[in-house]
Symmetry: C2
Subunit: 328 residues, 2 copies
């Protein structure tokens, strides 16, 4: 099943079931008022949603309309928790060098994770209002999972069974603010403005064999101002999503709708390019002796799409956002 | 005005207006379904709530019932964001020694703040289920503010005008997990299980002159298993709440209902005692050469009450919680 959320002026938006090819959608107010509502009553609504999804894909869904990603909020415009790991160790090691930070203890064996704001997510085509270019505006292409209720102390394998949906994420970052916040030990706060999501959240079965071992085995194609930036592969994630969800739930339960992110998708091979600017910059420093790339300017755009095959529409749809100066 | 939330099986609970002396309460479903709902429509509901509050305090509120703090959830059982500062520098400096951590850069001039889970707050008399005594179970007595909508980039003085309610907080901490999470730079996650709140959230005017300069000028009386632990004074907060809220909103807006905490209340004078165990332990180490106090055991209780005068009931009511082993 595929789901999206249309902006309707409410905090949770209007749930629609989306066709597999992302061309059509149908509202389901009689089943669930919002995707959060559906996640909170998943076992109760699952079969009814599946019936609608099946009918939609076979062209037998009266009331279906053209699917317009530009009308979409994030699949969950707000969620109970947003917990983002750093599960691609290649990215983490490069960022240590980028931030000139000491090595994170036990980085290879214990996931790291920060808690981000989850009350105000951005939709896939929303402008990104930020106070200053001097803050070092950067995108971060990621994958994430949306959980059902997760009990405290869950094992990684049981945690994986709590995964309801997969999402594609752009975790906006302000790189000039990150190193100080890391040094405080209290974690990222000002360095992490509102996070954005691709329009469509999907059940894991929609990926077929590309969802295995708790990882999304797709390349994430990233373009900055229309130019290719990278297409790192999600399968290289060092900690799988079961491990990440279990880490998050070690001393707390997670409410239905909690989103856990992978951190920036990153591959050891330089040929894959990058899914964030900070990583390219440190690679330039390492490989070429100097940083050549600046961070984003107001008016810049970033486009992200995870694909089965390059050039073919991806299962989550497209993130395509422009950075703008916040109104003062 | 004073508000509390009765447990009714819903995620946001049932809003009640509470009398100034905390003896009576009245549900107000025709005005707002929950405290979160009221905060989201504050200007629209304010006068109606004030009318009920005034009638209740003058004994002219038909339908008022005895107020039972044991039936209460946290005033906001879930909130859009929970952001906790460390605004009592005396506490922060002691914790650096307790954790054997390097000094936080710019600690005297820039607030530090972590983002905590806000989907599952504990009520004032709720048991606290935790996985292991070995995690170093500790309480942290704090004050907090509940905000209306806060725009990105707000000034400290404008931020203070966004404060709608004051709350009293017990920010549960697992001290064995904190130092590692600080060293990762990603901040506290496993070290911070669900946070608890005193039953009553109050408008700032309820404190009279004890709310001034963006600070709560009350002593927070803390008892551990019935024995006095400390009564540090909230007026010693180094960064006021306006500064903390502005820090939180530097690169993001805050949704109505966001809670910003002071961090552990702490005074330079040793005579005040402490509002968390970790602080007492490091003081023992400094003053007496060795740590004598252990962390909490399952079955232990903590009681916290901010008071105008010792022995008189405080404006927020009482937090009185027991730590228990989580069901496995």
């Amino acid at each position: 099943m595929k789901f999206a959320t249309l902006k309707d002026g409410t905090l949770d938006g209007e749930l629609v079931v989306v066709s597999r090819d992302l061309t059509r959608a149908i509202a389901v107010p009689s089943i669930a008022t919002s995707l959060l509502d559906a996640l909170q009553r998943w076992d109760e609504v699952h079969d009814a949603l599946l019936d609608v999804s099946t009918a939609l894909d076979s062209g037998r869904a009266p009331g279906a309309l053209a699917f317009d990603p530009r009308a979409c909020a994030a699949p969950l415009p707000r969620s109970p928790q947003w917990l983002d790991g750093s599960a691609f160790l290649n990215h983490g090691r490069l960022m240590e060098q980028a931030f000139n930070a000491p090595p994170i203890p036990e980085f290879d064996s214990v996931p790291v994770m920060y808690q981000g704001a989850s009350d105000d997510f951005l939709g896939p085509h929303d402008d990104v209002p930020l106070p200053s270019e001097a803050d070092g505006v950067d995108f971060e292409g990621e994958f994430g999972v949306v959980c059902g209720p997760v009990p405290m102390g869950v094992t990684p394998s049981a945690a994986l069974r709590c995964v309801r949906l997969l999402v594609q994420v752009n975790d906006w970052s302000l790189r000039a603010l990150g190193p100080h916040e890391m040094k405080t030990g209290f974690g990222f706060l000002q360095a992490k403005p509102s996070t954005a999501f691709a329009p469509v959240a999907i059940t894991p079965d929609e990926l077929g064999g590309a969802w295995r071992d708790g990882r999304v085995h797709l390349r994430l194609h990233v373009q900055w101002n229309g130019e290719r930036f990278g297409e790192p592969h999600g399968g290289e994630m060092n900690f799988d999503f079961g491990r990440l969800v279990a880490h998050a739930a070690r001393t707390r339960k997670l409410s239905a709708g909690t989103i856990v992110g992978s951190g920036t998708v990153s591959n050891v091979s330089r040929a894959a390019g990058s899914a964030c600017i900070a990583e390219r910059r440190v690679i330039e420093k390492i490989d070429q002796g100097e940083i050549r790339t600046g961070f984003m300017r107001f008016g810049d755009r970033v486009r992200m799409e995870a694909c089965f095959d390059e050039g073919q529409p991806g299962p989550f749809g497209v993130i395509d956002q422009r950075v703008v100066a916040a109104a003062t």
